[in-house]
């Protein structure tokens, strides 16, 4: 096993949707305090399943999810959120009929009004675009703005770890850079980041550690750099040759960037 003092860990995690069919066949992930950790891997690897399970939205069939050493694999999702694990779902992750500000207010877990105002102000500083649109319905926001709103809303109660499911999904290339830059900024404020990304090169480049998942199993692990430099990882999963051209395009994968 990896080094001690993990903030968030999974041990031999088995998860599935349909009876008798497991999606994850025993996955181990270790996230230390203050790190950025990326989970990458091809479509169907079980990346989203993994983070949904960590956050309590899918029950574990066996194995453990440890948060600060405490097993939370049987804990309900809302209770996990209250412990300090903030989860940002993939796409369609804002409440469209409510304004930007109402969405942010929903992030509040404790009911202290003044603290909430302060947190919302801090979020407007982190994402100035949201301040401009505070009175607008979230349904009228662009994909990038929705992603910012979902992240800001999850950050309101000051979670210890932010779990992001494909933060760059469906975004224009210019926005992808902006979102990753914001994620790095959030991490600098002391928030640990665990993210799932299709955009693996970019995510691994900014990560302390990374995991390559395939068909529900750990395939490779290492620092972000090690994974990017590992020719096997590049050949199998990153699929881009030295000139930066995709060697093995995956249909539909880069639609959003095209």
């Amino acid at each position: 096993m990896s080094a001690a003092s993990g903030l968030l860990e999974t041990h031999d995690l088995v998860v599935g949707y349909v009876a008798g069919v497991d999606i994850l066949h025993g996955v181990d992930v270790h996230v230390a305090e203050g790190e950025i950790v990326t989970i990458a891997g091809p479509n169907g690897a079980g990346k989203s399943t993994l983070v949904r399970s960590i956050c309590g939205l899918l029950p574990a069939r066996s194995g453990q999810v440890l948060f600060r050493g405490e097993d939370i694999s049987r804990t309900k999702a809302h209770a996990i959120a209250r412990k300090g694990v903030g989860y940002v779902p993939q796409l369609n992750n804002v409440f469209v009929s409510m304004t930007v500000e109402e969405n942010l207010e929903l992030g509040a877990i404790a009911r202290r009004r003044t603290a909430l105002r302060e947190r919302i102000a801090a979020m407007y500083e982190l994402f100035p675009r949201l301040k401009e649109r505070r009175r607008q319905r979230a349904g009228t926001l662009s994909g990038g703005e929705r992603q910012m709103l979902a992240m800001a809303r999850t950050l309101i109660p000051e979670p210890d770890v932010l779990v992001l499911d494909e933060p760059s999904a469906g975004l224009a290339p210019t926005l992808v850079g902006l979102i990753f830059e914001r994620i790095a900024a959030i991490n600098k404020t002391g928030v640990t980041i665990l993210m799932v990304e299709q955009n693996a090169r970019r995510a691994l480049a900014m990560s302390h550690h990374g995991y390559m998942l395939d068909l529900g199993r750990n395939r490779f692990r290492g620092t972000g750099r090690e994974l990017l430099d590992n020719p096997r990882v590049v050949e199998l999963y990153l699929g881009i040759d030295r000139r930066g051209v995709r060697a093995r395009p995956i249909p539909g994968e880069d639609r959003a960037e095209g």
Partner: protein
């Protein structure tokens, strides 16, 4: 089909229209609960009539069999309805939305069959009478103050007064952080969970409040008819409630008042269309007209009269 003539003679009959107004007000209160569940929480409650039935029967049974005071029986009957709501909600709100809907229909039908067969308590299909003497004396004094001969006018005032107050209260409640969490649950349960909201508990609270409103509508209906029998609580009551809900608009409390008034004027007003048809055919035709109005509404204004299209967000 030719429309031979429309008789408006009955439009002058105050008594008839006061009766229609009472029913419209009762359905208004009934639908406030549906609006909270369906329009604001996203839980499809098809069993609202069950709570109405429990409210009415619990009140009547406490007065007639346990010799409680009528006024004490009212909060007690509401408490019974709420307790039943929690009992039904605890197992069934964990189900997927569509299974929950089926479970609630079954619940309401079970209540009706119990009312039919637990004759010792409910008198079965013979029905219950004489639970309303306390109300009748109050009603008589109101009638005296107003110096009117309209016997149902006091009930009309009480019903619409209560409906008005409850509409204001529900709107207020909807504006609180609690109300906003319900909307979050309606739009995306998982996102609400991830924000630390106990979705199940919020749904249960929503159902309990709907049960309260259903029980209020229940005893008003019992007072309106001065009689209780199981067939007053068949599932069509809930579905008429849904017609009011859709007509007025999802996620709008104000729309309910308009929806219930329009639906009941339509339902009852169409009694006076004189056609060369038998009484049964005319009775059926009334529902055809109501159905056509609802279909037209869904086609051309699915958000109803007062609903907002952007609020029509369920699940996710």
């Amino acid at each position: 089909m030719t429309l031979s003539s429309i008789s408006f003679s009955a439009f002058g009959q105050a008594e008839f229209w006061i009766g229609v107004g009472v029913l419209a007000g009762i359905y208004g209160i009934f639908v406030l609960g549906l609006q909270l569940n369906v329009g604001f929480t996203g839980i499809i409650n098809f069993g609202q009539v069950g709570f109405m039935s429990i409210g009415a029967y619990a009140m009547a049974i406490l007065v007639l069999k346990a010799h409680w005071s009528f006024w004490l029986s009212l909060p007690a009957a509401t408490a019974v309805a709420v307790a039943t709501g929690l009992l039904i909600g605890l197992p069934s709100l964990r189900l997927r939305a569509d299974y929950f809907a089926i479970a609630t229909i079954a619940f309401a039908e079970i209540i009706r069959y119990v009312a039919e067969n637990a004759r010792g308590l409910t008198n079965g299909n013979i029905g219950l009478l004489g639970f309303d003497s306390s109300w009748v004396s109050v009603s008589n004094s109101i009638q005296g103050w107003l110096s009117t001969s309209e016997i149902q006018l006091p009930l009309l005032l009480v019903t619409w007064g209560l409906f008005g107050v409850l509409t204001v209260v529900m709107r207020r409640v909807q504006g609180t952080p609690w109300g906003r969490v319900l909307r979050a649950v309606r739009e995306d349960e998982d996102a609400a969970r991830a924000l630390g909201k106990n979705v199940f508990s919020y749904k249960l609270q929503s159902l309990a409040i709907a049960a309260t409103l259903g029980s209020l509508a229940g005893y008003l209906l019992a007072l309106d008819l001065a009689f209780l029998s199981p067939d007053q609580f068949d599932p069509s009551v809930t579905f008429t409630g849904y017609a009011v809900l859709i007509l007025g608009g999802l996620a709008s409390y104000v729309g309910i008042a308009a929806g219930t008034a329009i639906l009941w004027v339509l339902l009852e007003g169409t009694r006076f269309i004189n056609l060369p048809l038998s009484a049964e055919q005319i009775a059926a035709l009334r529902f055809v007209i109501v159905g056509a109005v609802l279909i037209g509404l869904m086609a051309f204004r699915p958000q109803g009269l007062f609903g907002k299209r952007e609020e029509m967000v369920l699940g996710g």
